[in-house]
């Protein structure tokens, strides 16, 4: 298991490098030029040249890449060109917000989704199943910004339970978490339900019943364990959502976050920030797949053995 983890992490290195090249090239293909944003208005070509040199944009592409990736490996993401701060500090400021919001939303949608999934699967085909799944579906059918505003109207304005927006205190997290969580719940519930139904139909469940095991025990201790494997795999892959998927919610609730940082920087052509944010997202995704694989192996002895 440990060996496998190490091997997988080693394996991530080339993938990570490949991804970083793709990101680097993609960013350099974007229209617009950060130097434009930086140049004093009316500045002459020599000032442009000076700035270009200062940021190393005049060197061959591969050199720029090597320089950049070399620094990244040492934890230095460079300086934001437009926002004039170390990229690391910009990201450091945004990341905690994204992590708490995304993490909590993930938690909520996982717990809620799995619960709904279990109930729906246990009463498959009944009105309870249809009602729950229909409700969850409807909840995920509205655009996020719309849900967010409605939630504010109901819970902040009419009931006064939560603050409208901002990022101060746990209360201000509730509505954004619910907004994102609703969409995620639908996905998790759907996957859980299907996985449970699939597992319920497998032969071993009948044998468990034949052994006289209580149905609730079967459902929670045996079937759920099987069902969790695909759920965990899908959730792990969706880690990108945790960090970057909250853009609209960040706008509606006036919260900082990696998603809005990325989009803002993209629009300002602040290359270093965009590069770093994308890289971090990609890294999260890669780690997510790794985590998914490890969890899968931890949960399934067959996969564990395959790794040996």
């Amino acid at each position: 298991m440990l060996g496998f983890a190490i091997r997988r992490i080693l394996m991530l290195v080339p993938v990570f490098l490949a991804v970083s090249v793709i990101i680097f090239l993609m960013i350099h293909m974007l229209p617009g030029d950060p130097i434009d944003n930086l140049l004093r208005i009316g500045a002459g070509p020599d000032q442009r040249a000076a700035l270009t040199e200062k940021y190393g944009l005049d060197r061959p592409l591969y050199e720029q890449y090597l320089y950049w990736i070399g620094n990244v490996v040492q934890g230095d993401f460079g300086n934001a060109i437009v926002q004039r701060r170390p990229v690391a500090s910009l990201i450091g400021q945004a990341l905690p917000y994204s992590l708490t919001l995304g993490g909590l939303a993930l938690l909520v949608s996982t717990v809620l989704g799995i619960t709904v999934g279990i109930i729906a699967a246990s009463f498959k085909g009944s009105w309870l199943d249809q009602g729950l799944m229909g409700g969850v579906l409807f909840g995920s059918m509205l655009p996020n910004f719309w849900i967010g505003l409605l939630l504010i109207l109901v819970f902040s304005v009419s009931l006064g339970w939560t603050p409208v927006s901002g990022a101060r205190g746990w209360e201000s997290l509730i509505l954004p978490v619910v907004t994102i969580g609703l969409g995620g719940t639908a996905l998790v519930a759907r996957v859980t339900r299907v996985a449970m139904i699939d597992a319920q139909g497998r032969d071993f469940v009948m044998l468990l019943h034949a052994k006289g095991v209580h149905p609730v025990v079967i459902q929670l201790r045996h079937v759920l364990r099987h069902a969790l494997i695909p759920v965990v795999t899908i959730l792990a892959l969706r880690i990108g959502w945790i960090l970057g998927g909250a853009v609209t919610v960040e706008v509606v609730f006036a919260r900082p976050g990696l998603g809005s940082l990325l989009i803002k920087s993209l629009n300002q052509h602040d290359y270093p920030v965009v590069q770093a944010s994308l890289l971090i997202l990609a890294m999260a995704v890669l780690l997510g797949t790794l985590l998914g694989d490890l969890l899968q192996a931890a949960m399934d002895p067959r996969i564990r053995d395959n790794l040996k």
């Binding site: 497998r202 006289g212 095991v213 002895p301 067959r302």
Partner: protein, 326 residues
Amino acid sequence: MLMEVKDLSLSIGKVALLDRVSFSVDRGQVLGLVGESGSGKSLTALALTGLVRRIGGRITGGSIVFDGQELSDLPEPAYRKLRGKRIAFITQNPMSALDALKTIGDQVDQVSRLHLGLSRKAARAHTVDILTRLRIPEAATVARAYPHQLSGGMKQRVVIAMALAADADLIIADEPTTALDVTVQAQIVMILSELVKKRNIGLILITHDMGVVAQICDKVCVLYAGRVAESGPVWQLFDTPRHPYSAALIGCIPREGMAPGALKGIPGTVPSALNYGAECCRFASRCTRADALCHTTRPLPHSQGAALVACHHPQGTAAQPEALDV
């Protein structure tokens, strides 16, 4: 009688799938339940173990008496206490019957802890003991293994071990060897037949394989389209099958010394459960002996020799089935 089933009828939804099925099995006896695919063998097993409710089925008539106790209307909690403890069920496919995420030991322990109230430790010792008795080498190690690390034959023995873990009185085995190789099948079948003798328990063996029936069963019950066609002692069935269907079935087995071309099969196919028809012989459309009566009146089981046969025109004592056209 350890278990006596009388006129058991069963439906799933509106479809009647079993129609007045009767048979019985005693301690030390092996009852073979045979019939073509879809004839209701597995459903019968599910009905006996009270599991048929799980797939939406409902017993619509008849009785199941187990050790003096009526089971057909037993509430689920009481049934659950019985199941696994006194009536053990060995399901069809050993490859998938075990929970892939738990160790063999845990799965066998579960039975004795649940039904015998053994402690974790005692249960494991018990498990290892049973596995050893089923001739599993290094039982303690195997108990720590996961299902995928075992061969099919081993897994099937583990499932049998579960059936024994709480000292069941009756084992119902649904095609325990279909998915296994012949050599492994031989092992499993021999283990089961020994168990019946040694422990003096009852065994209901559901199988396709007439060879297995011939070798280890004492009684046979031939199901056709949800009804019993013929049931009786095994020697009579093979010797002088009375129902044209059982006769034809036996004629389908390739045997040593059979002339080329002798194997004919039964023409036509089993009717689907949706158009079984109530007032007729369900085999009539494939039967060479069928006449108008067979198409309008349901044959009732009656004694023919040592067996009960549900046929208007049972065969005499002819050992060979009459010539049938494909």
